[in-house]
Symmetry: C2
Subunit: 381 residues, 2 copies
Amino acid sequence: MLQKDSGSNARLGKATTGHGEFLTPAFMPVGTQATIKSLSPKDLKEVGAEIIASNTYHLYLRPSQEVIGKLGGLHKFMGWGYPILTDSGGFQVFSLAALRKITEEGVYFQSHINGSRHFISPEKSIAIQEVLGSDIMMCFDECIPYPVSYDYTLNSVEMTGRWAERGKKAKGSGDSGLFGIIQGGMFGDLREKSAESILKIGFDGYAIGGISVGETKPMMCEMIMRVLPFLPEDRPRYLMGVGTPEDLVKYTGLGFDMFDCVLPTRNARNGMLFTSKGKIVIKNAQYINDDSPVDETCQCYTCKNFSRGYLRHLLIANEILSPRLNTIHNLTYYFTLIKEMRGAIEEDRFSEFRKNFYELRGENFKTGIINKHSQGGDFND
Amino acid sequence: MLQKDSGSNARLGKATTGHGEFLTPAFMPVGTQATIKSLSPKDLKEVGAEIIASNTYHLYLRPSQEVIGKLGGLHKFMGWGYPILTDSGGFQVFSLAALRKITEEGVYFQSHINGSRHFISPEKSIAIQEVLGSDIMMCFDECIPYPVSYDYTLNSVEMTGRWAERGKKAKGSGDSGLFGIIQGGMFGDLREKSAESILKIGFDGYAIGGISVGETKPMMCEMIMRVLPFLPEDRPRYLMGVGTPEDLVKYTGLGFDMFDCVLPTRNARNGMLFTSKGKIVIKNAQYINDDSPVDETCQCYTCKNFSRGYLRHLLIANEILSPRLNTIHNLTYYFTLIKEMRGAIEEDRFSEFRKNFYELRGENFKTGIINKHSQGGDFND
């Protein structure tokens, strides 16, 4: 940790990986299939990304870790020489795969692409992530749906704990980091139980998983707050699948450091753009003759060169340039926010920043509930 | 004209427009819907484009010339500050529109997008192109299909001549250039007749249209050679819808200056990539573990940063980055060829260059027949 805000729990940190450092709070765009949809690595760097997230499940199925390994590892494969976090595949196995069968040993499942049969265990998940060359690996965990019974959740939490232990043992001597994931569904005591078991094993960082899966925002917050006291000050805290700009500000203020979400990229492809005055739906007829940029205050390539009218045209005409220009804008919005938060922490004025952030945006800025699959990417991310 | 090769009819020229100069021989990528599919204007400039072609028919239907006019004209709309040539809409009206009715006055037709009813005349075509702010406008012409009868072609050629005259009269005092289009189907004497009538009217440049519409390559060449003697030395000669790299070398050597074709961009999206050793189909299984670039000799962003294995993965995974990286490569291939031809003319060694070009490539380099709609763009371009 570099610095802590005195008026909140926000922290400024720096993490070091085999592919360089990144600052926290950090937002990780999701590159499910070894590409942040529509962007080149050059675009990504230009919008301000420092670390990205990618998906073990998707890359294992296509093109496979063997292929990526032969082509020099994930960094070289996708042309991104900076930090990469890979999720364990847990979330996708449970949300995307067909006909899965969960055993203590691991999970048998069928590919969502072609129905082929596969098996992933905690050890295999680590092995795949190591072949990919991940900088930060995640432990294989069971991601339960919402809602689910107390008893099921209890058993799941216990198994996820045993899996985490196996994952840690399976990790080789490489310089990748390994994060543990705390589960527990929507039961506060099971969240605490999970936190205790994961913390006892000891990891390079701690993630809260199984949130943003369809529950209400207050419920999500309650679960997070039950876990927070267990998380040590000196390790990165990662809130998986979160979230909206409001979420980022809120949970940074509560002491979280890392976030990933498909919201800015997926919304971009659907034409929902973030601005300093609220979101806009670029497809709307009101923008047909609008010669202003998406956001007058934005410095991105899209805003510096194109009008809302042109962006609307590209979307309506189903042009390939549309998702790219929109994604450049939305990610620039996110990374501008991240930089503003870092600056506010550095200058010990985060609580003031947070107050202004919410006041300025008000009701107009609601960005809706993230859908069930937004955590860690799904078919479309 | 700046220079003429002594061993061929190849010429090096410079054309001046309201948005700057461009050198000839020139290749114009086709930006049907006010975007070269998948590329930003920055990408376009980086691959070496100096002038692009766009489509009156498509822009008239969507978003309409009124909208583009309100947003500052086509250059500002699409963020391209360099020369733009617009076709007249003739080719698209005849190849895409439904239920068209041709009269001496103009053409009644229904939109291929939504069936709405429209009318374009030679005067209206010019008016639309002027609102778009085109640097080089094309006369509205009847593009006949192949094959078609002699009598039909004769009448069509005569009407296209009258339409060209009306187009020239309709042109305002702006600094846009206006090119006449020579038609005549696959009848040599009608090609000559058309050339005579268009030349008599007098234009800033002369185009041969109605070629590359499904006829054989020798037939296409025969028609072009019938027209060539009519084309004055001091005006640009534009071969519409042409063509393959071999075509560009061949017709540059015969004295043509301007070309447009969807081949490099459309093939890119289908994964057919041009290389100095022939074309490759990147989807093929042989590239799955291939860590070499598309072309070792190529200096484009794609070849400098990504392997064939990655490009194959992006295509198979249906990723948006795939068409862009492929298009960057194919257009770089085309513009590298254009630059090599210019250099060869400048150094008075074009015939030697041409000989080497064909010898090096040989049989491996056949790129197939351009399909019927490749001229000037269709639904997909």
